[in-house]
């Protein structure tokens, strides 16, 4: 199966039984999807450690092991030795297609270049991120580094691929050619395999194409595509993204252990995991006309996706994760920021050692309640930092001239402000082990609420068992199957969080509210600052909430203005968050622990502690 990733194959035969895997950095997850009556359902799942590494060094080993688990559980014979039986031979033998995503082996690591760092440099970065890559460096003519430092940097990095951009079509060519000369002088080597040429995509000023070809054509596997910034006011990322996907499959994956075999086994092009999750997030936002933020928190990286007013963005925080990168979360957030979420005291040395031990043994799981609470505290910080990173890149185009009217004189806004508006946010979708596998769903909900501090009314959901990557790649060959499974088996609505904007002293009134539940039951009460309340409201049910905030508190309609809204239920329910926005946590250690204990108890976050 070697068709280009940018143009998935048309599958003519009926697809009634599908097996899909995601080869993650730690585990390979397999799911079985079957057509039951007229709809597709996810029926069984299996997982096994990923085997990119020694002693196996063959990713297909882990795939076969994960599928073997499905075989055991389902009673369906899928494997014939090391081969997947396709298509189905009878009701209990074979599958119609096997598909996969992959982020094993460190994912797709790219270096991008541009002329102006916050213009073409950022556009190139967005193109690479949108294609599912980890961007290891952004080089630009104005990045402050001296020319020889740039060359040294290119030389010392070993990316899987380089994306070069720069200049608008018809503009000056000098800076782009200069960068090409630096790349040529550095003679960059790919991460895997010292004998093959590094793939390089040129997506800059079209007038410089011939010069770039002359400079880099011999030294790299050069591909030329449309300019990602043909004019200053427009970004054209799709051609570069498609090219990245194609080269990922043709070059990069061919070098990783066992991937040639994996590509042959699969009935559709292997997608980088984040690209597949991005496809799903974009589909949800479009279908439901929502502004959403999606997060996939893994062991090594945290991906954040957003769709605001139809604009899709993705970022990856390459070193924020819950196992391999857990120690980096501590390094970036600092110990006090993690400790503020832990509802007990623990000495610094013990905590630091525990975090490092998780880093060196990344597959272990919390065995006691306090260990679980520490991991949840760390995940709040990883989620928070990844969103800050996302906000800084999910921006409007920079350097664009804006028309100003007289009214703008008093409200000057620079170009390139973040697109993420928490007040306009409709839905947060969480995915990844710590969110999908939290023992109680309320734990996932509160981790996301604490990390993101949603404003006003926001729905929250999680990926039930982490299958968004599988459905992302599935949607490229059979959209109905992907949608059916997504709605019925993947997305679990947790409920709605209502968070008034404003701060006040603990115990002061924040808002009066009235909830009319389905069936007519009414609740009238006051939300005080420092309160966290949870009302059960079933999945697919709606309640009517009227809230009258006090005069300095805002629910989205203005300070002191009452709001009446229908709120969606979920497996957790309706959460009223009176803890203030920005969120207020007591600075005193004892008071903080007491507040956390009160909140956690109010929403029944953890089982009663035995100690």
């Amino acid at each position: 199966m070697t068709s280009a990733a940018s143009s998935p194959p048309k599958i003519d035969r009926p697809l009634n039984v599908i097996v899909a895997t995601d080869c993650g950095s730690t585990t390979t997850k397999a799911i079985l999807i079957e057509k039951v009556g007229n709809e597709y359902r996810q029926t069984y799942r299996g997982e096994a450690p990923t085997t990119v590494e020694a002693p196996f060094e063959d990713v297909t080993r882990g795939v076969l092991n994960a599928i073997a688990e499905i075989e055991e559980l389902s009673g369906r014979k899928i494997l014939d030795g090391d081969r997947i039986i396709t298509p189905c031979r009878d009701a209990k033998t074979g599958v119609d297609i096997y598909i996969s995503t992959s982020s094993a082996g460190g994912g797709l690591q790219m270096m991008v270049t541009g002329v102006v760092q916050n213009m073409t440099g950022e556009s190139a970065q967005r193109a690479a991120l949108g294609a599912g890559a980890i961007v290891i460096d952004v080089l630009a003519s104005n990045d402050g580094r001296l020319p020889h430092e740039k060359i040294e940097r290119i030389r010392s990095m070993r990316p899987d691929m380089i994306l070069m951009s720069g200049g608008t079509d018809g503009g000056a060519v000098t800076h782009v050619v200069e960068m090409a000369e630096y790349v040529a002088a550095a003679e960059p080597k790919p991460r895997f395999g010292i004998t093959y040429k590094l793939p390089l995509i040129y997506a800059g000023n079209k007038d410089a194409q011939s010069q770039v070809r002359k400079t880099l054509g011999e030294k790299t596997a050069l591909e030329i595509t449309d300019n990602i910034r043909p004019v200053l006011e427009k970004e054209n990322l799709a051609p570069a993204r498609n090219k990245i996907h194609d080269l990922f499959l043709e070059h990069v994956m061919q070098q990783a252990p066992g991937y040639k075999k994996l590509i042959d086994m699969a009935g559709a092009p292997i997608m980088p995991t984040p690209a597949a999750v991005g496809v799903i997030m974009e589909t949800i936002a479009k279908r439901e006309h929502l502004n959403l933020i999606g997060v996939d928190i893994g062991g090594a990286t945290t991906d954040v996706f957003s769709v605001f007013e139809g604009v899709f963005n993705r970022t990856v925080s390459a070193n924020l994760g819950m196992s391999y990168s857990i120690s980096n979360v501590l390094a970036e957030s600092g110990l006090p920021n993690i400790m503020r979420w832990v509802p007990f005291t623990i000495d610094e040395q013990t905590l630091r050692n525990r975090i490092k031990n998780k880093m060196i043994r990344p597959t272990t799981i919390p065995q006691t309640l306090d260990e679980l609470q520490i991991e949840h505290a760390i995940s709040r910080e990883a989620l928070r930092l990844a969103l800050i990173h996302h906000k800084s890149l999910a921006t409007g185009l920079k350097g664009v001239q804006q028309e100003r009217t007289i009214s703008d004189v008093f409200e000057q806004q620079t170009s390139g402000k973040t697109l993420i508006d928490m007040l306009k946010l409709d839905l947060i979708v969480g995915s990844g082990g710590i969110l999908s596998h939290a023992p109680r769903r309320i734990q996932s909900m509160l981790m996301m609420v604490d990390a993101y501090e949603p404003l006003g009314f926001t729905m929250l959901s999680v990926d039930s068992i982490f299958m968004m990557p599988h459905l992302g790649v599935l949607s490229t060959i059979n959209e109905q199957a992907a949608t059916d499974v997504f709605v019925r088996d993947c997305m679990i609505y947790l409920g709605t969080c209502v968070a008034p904007i404003g701060q006040g002293k603990s115990g002061e009134i924040c808002a009066d509210y009235e909830i009319v539940f389905p069936g007519g039951r009414q609740v009238k009460d006051q939300l005080k600052f420092g309160d966290l309340r949870l009302y059960p409201l079933e999945l697919n049910k709606k309640a009517r909430l009227t809230m009258q905030p006090v005069k300095h508190v805002n629910l989205g309609a203005g300070a002191g203005v009452p709001v009446t809204r229908e709120v969606q239920g979920g497996v957790v329910g309706l959460m009223l968050d009176g803890r203030g926005r920005p969120l207020q946590l007591p600075s005193d250690q004892q008071a903080r622990v007491a507040s956390l204990a009160k909140w956690y108890q109010a929403v029944d976050l953890y089982p009663k502690s035995d100690g």
């Binding site: 950095s25 997982e47 096994a48 450690p49 990119v52 590494e53 020694a54 002693p55 092991n65 688990e69 094993a104 082996g105 460190g106 020319p147 020889h148 060359i151 040294e152 060519v173 000098t174 050619v177 200069e178 000369e181 002088a185 003679e187 080597k189 010292i194 004998t195 010069q211 062991g299 070193n319 391999y324 990168s325 120690s327 980096n328 501590l330 390094a331 970036e332 610094e348 040395q349 630091r352 050692n353 525990r354 975090i355 490092k356 031990n357 880093m359 060196i360 043994r361 597959t363 272990t364 799981i365 919390p366 065995q367 006691t368 260990e371 679980l372 596998h437 023992p439 109680r440 089982p607």
Partner: protein, 374 residues
């Protein structure tokens, strides 16, 4: 989940290791298949291209890029010395003369008529790739390197810092649960591999550096001491290039954890012998664990065996790798197949471990590692 288990660290008296020694860029292989090599012997050599220095002549002389050839004193391919004149203008009045001098000694690699740049390259630097272990060359990879094989005893650590070093093994403590204190380190340990017990405090690290100890192998350290040693908080476990004065290998983890008895016994049995060690650790994207390789003089013709384990079996020696029993060693005594609810309320696959004193406990399967090479 028969296939789901954490492969453990190897601690074995007799094995055959093969180490692939590959240059970072194509070069020349200096040895032949079948040759015996010493750890400090060069097996391949490459010329690392020199650093590149671009100079924008067009900007510096205020001329058009396509005019630079007219102003150059030297040609493409010429050698230049530091401060030698590369290019100059020819004004009518001498005072306005501008001379561009070479910032380095090297060659003029290329000129660009589009950007007006001249690229200067420093002379190449020789890079010798050493064998790392005493052994035999079993494969040569043209232009890239070799595979060296050695019959040896092997101990894998869990985490390390620092690169490849070699030296004589010295056991500095009496028991695996004894901490390695500064008093244990003596001047004659310079250039040697010192084996400690349960813990390595910061003061001992300082003394080891002062004495010039080549390597330290201990059960555990505190994270705060590692941070002090490195000067930064290690975020991701990709190590091997640190230069802290010695190579450090942890056999158990972070905290005070006695070295596994088997590991301590094996290393003690080889006191006085030469070992090659590497602190390189990479847990993500291709596991590399630190290692202690003790080549055996008599090159036993044992085959390199990769034990392809199919999973955990009853009787397997295991190490618990998560709190609250972190570091304890026992034996698998039961493998229930049903999911079991643990105190966090997660339902997971578990196993039962029996300790030497007969006590039993139930542990999630992901929280143990098999002690390999038993």
């Amino acid at each position: 989940m028969a296939h789901s288990y954490t492969p453990g660290l190897t601690v074995t008296e007799q094995t055959v290791v093969r180490r692939r020694r590959v240059l970072p860029l194509p070069g020349k292989v200096l040895v032949n298949t079948g040759d015996r090599v010493q750890c400090d012997q060069a097996v391949a050599r490459a010329e690392l291209p020199g650093k590149v220095y671009p100079i924008n002549l067009a900007n510096q002389l205020s001329i058009a890029p396509d005019e630079i050839k007219e102003y150059l004193v030297k040609k493409e391919g010429d050698l230049v010395r530091k401060d030698e004149i590369l290019a100059e203008n020819k004004p009518l009045i001498k005072w306005f003369k501008t001379e561009i001098k070479s910032p380095v000694t090297g060659t003029i690699e290329s000129l660009s008529m589009v950007t007006g740049q001249v690229l200067l390259r420093e002379p190449p630097r020789m890079l010798d790739l050493l064998a790392y272990i005493d052994g035999a060359v079993v494969e040569t990879i043209p232009q890239q390197g070799v595979v060296v094989e050695a019959s040896c005893s092997l101990v894998q650590g869990i985490f390390g810092i620092g690169g490849e070093v070699w030296g004589e093994i010295v056991v500095a403590v009496k028991a695996p649960d004894e901490a390695l204190t500064p008093a244990h380190l003596k001047p004659d340990m310079k250039g040697k591999i010192v084996i400690g017990g349960s813990f390595l405090p910061a003061e001992t690290m300082a003394k080891a550096k002062e004495l010039g100890v080549a390597g330290l192998v201990v059960g555990g350290i505190h994270d705060k001491d590692l941070r002090a040693l490195l000067g930064y908080d290690l975020g991701v476990a990709i190590t091997g290039t640190e230069q802290v004065g010695f190579t450090l290998i942890l056999t158990e983890g972070f905290g005070t954890i006695p070295m596994a008895a088997k590991t301590f016994k094996l290393l003690s049995a080889h006191e006085g012998q030469k070992a090659s060690i590497s602190g390189a650790t990479q847990i993500r994207a291709g596991v590399i664990r630190p290692e202690i390789i003790i080549p055996q003089a008599a090159a036993a013709a044992a085959e390199a065996v990769h034990a392809q384990r199919e999973g955990i079996r009853i009787g397997d020696p295991v190490r618990i790798i998560r709190d609250p029993l972190f570091g304890k060693i026992g034996e698998v005594s039961a493998l229930p197949s049903d999911l079991t609810k643990i105190p966090t309320e997660s339902e997971v696959r578990v196993l039962e471990v029996t300790f030497a004193d007969g006590a039993r406990t139930v542990i999630p399967r992901t929280n143990i590692e098999v002690i390999e090479g038993a």
